[in-house]
Subunit: 341 residues, 2 copies
């Protein structure tokens, strides 16, 4: 594996350095070819770095005066947070010094900054958020967009299908990934105009393995590899997932709280259930990637813990190794050529 460098925003998310710094140390241990540039409040970061990491040959810490807060508005942050840890991490991708950046900070600001600084790939109107979901077959399912685009036309959904295919193919080595459109019925006549139009375009493309519409209850059944939808629907579906998992765990807890025997059973089952529950918060568990940019940006969840932030770093490493943006660009060119021709 070639050496690679990541730029990390140490300050983003609900916890900042207490979570991001330990995840960084773990990543440095796990990936001997990885160099990390950490941006943020140097004293805070250093506090969480054991002495052996303070002069680590593959770690640099750059002090930033500013932090993007969760309440910052995108336009305002773009203008007034030029010395923030998030901005500096993105800048480093722009200059090519880093292969990717990872942040658990304000999603809206991250998307806007990344789009402004890195720019979208030719043929992409707007970037999209993608995450890996669990499935009945234990194979990952990718879903996009998860909230970057409130409303989408069929061109945008088509672009998502292309990008999702490339990610499934490169990151998870799925050959000819099955692509489905999320809809409220499986029949061709179902859904709104945008979804039906997109289906037509996808059917006509020989380079996308389009498999038709799927409904909400089929998201996790392993019948597809890439699920395409607009960001409004995708975000609500993803967050519904989290809500249901929470409710089911609560039901199970109520059952186990009934008497001493069920309490013991509950105690034994707790770690397994916690694991199952984590998987049901896919964006928290794995991080979500911003696709369609001329650079790699991975968004770790706001309340990501150490494991989740580490998973986001891992995701960034794989995307750099697989050169995801370049592959998306190649595929887009060939798909769009076919579309025009």
């Amino acid at each position: 594996m070639a050496n690679l460098t990541l730029a990390l925003d140490a300050m983003g998310g609900d916890f900042g350095p207490p979570v991001t710094v330990p995840a960084v140390m773990r990543a440095l241990t796990h990936f001997p070819n990885l160099t990390i540039s950490l941006f943020g409040d140097k004293p805070q970061i250093t506090k969480h770095l054991p002495p052996e990491y303070q002069k680590h040959s593959r770690l640099t810490v750059t002090h930033c005066q500013q932090v993007v807060t969760m309440s910052d508005r995108p336009l305002n942050a773009i203008r007034n947070r030029k010395d923030s840890s998030m901005r500096k991490a993105i800048d480093m991708v722009k200059t090519g010094e880093a292969g990717a950046c990872v942040s658990a900070g304000n999603t809206g600001v991250l998307m806007a900054m990344a789009k402004l600084i890195l720019k979208t790939l030719p043929g992409i109107d707007r970037p999209a958020l993608i995450a890996k979901l669990p499935s009945l077959t234990n194979k990952p399912v990718y879903m996009l967009d998860l909230g970057a685009n409130v409303s989408c036309d069929s061109d945008a959904l088509f672009q998502f299908a292309v990008m999702g295919s490339v990610v499934a193919e490169t990151v998870d080595a799925i050959s000819s990934p099955r692509v489905s459109l999320l809809n409220i019925g499986e029949e061709d006549i179902k859904g709104n105009d945008v979804v039906r139009q997109t289906a037509g375009v996808l059917k006509a493309s020989s380079q996308i393995n389009y498999c038709g519409f799927i409904e909400g209850h089929q998201i996790f059944n392993g019948s597809t590899d890439v699920i395409v939808c607009d960001g409004f629907v995708g975000n609500i579906s993803l967050k519904t997932t989290e809500g249901v998992a929470h409710l089911m765990l609560n039901h199970i807890q109520q059952l186990t709280d009934q008497n001493i025997v069920t309490k013991i059973l509950g105690f034994i089952a707790a770690p397994f259930l916690k694991k199952a529950f984590c998987k049901m918060k896919p964006d928290q568990y794995n991080g979500a990637s911003l696709l369609g940019l001329r650079g790699i940006v991975v968004k770790s969840h706001g309340n990501a813990d150490q494991d989740a932030f580490y998973n986001a770093i891992k995701q960034a490493v794989v995307e750099v190794e697989q050169q995801v943006p370049a592959r998306i660009q190649d595929r887009l060119e060939s798909v769009l050529l076919e579309k025009i021709g």
Copy 2:
């Protein structure tokens, strides 16, 4: 309680009389004031009726030549299924002989037939599907629309808010029910134009207890009583719920399959888990009501079992007793007067 009559489509759903007839017998036993008119294939229905029910004073069976199939298209069914069990049941509500109809048949056809025959209430553009969801606080949460309207303007969402409030108030005796709009963020600036416009109208209404936006993960946390969204989003969110529950049960099953001890634990837990799982398929478990019509129509799920079809009958009984359409009409008039004035 006053006497009431329901018109039931015995043929709808995946199973027909083997499921609908036993549910009818249970309802007749449970509600001594209930009379049921059952429509469908008489020989098939009679086969499932024990002798004492064949001449039951509160049960009539009307033979219908036709059945609406799951593949029937609405327009075609309206034209060519005039002697179907579904149509006859709706007709009986139209003439006033029945207080409500219940069907587990083709949703699209049921909605189209019901709208054409019963007509919408004044002030309602299109009917909406509503169902009761479970919550962390064990209080029901109503959500609409669940798929009757693929896209909605803010007028439609406002009407849903009024109708949902009336149902929560009358069916579940929730005073001043909290109404929320499903969105991809809680802040005022989040979401699309329709959602933001609707928020403005709801805020301005003194007769709706509008509580702002909620996100997908908050659907089940008991923070609201009525969740309003368009039918595309609502349907996908509802079906996502079903998919997640299925996936979580599968995870738990994998855990319990590991060895003999966990298998025994799984065996003990199975009935509780099944119960928790049923609740996660709210439309299957409770049935969904079609609101905004000049009559009551309850849609039982296509693969409803006996319990689920019985629950749908119960829902119809309560709506008749509470005169839900009349109450919606009253509320609409007063809300619209305020809006205009």
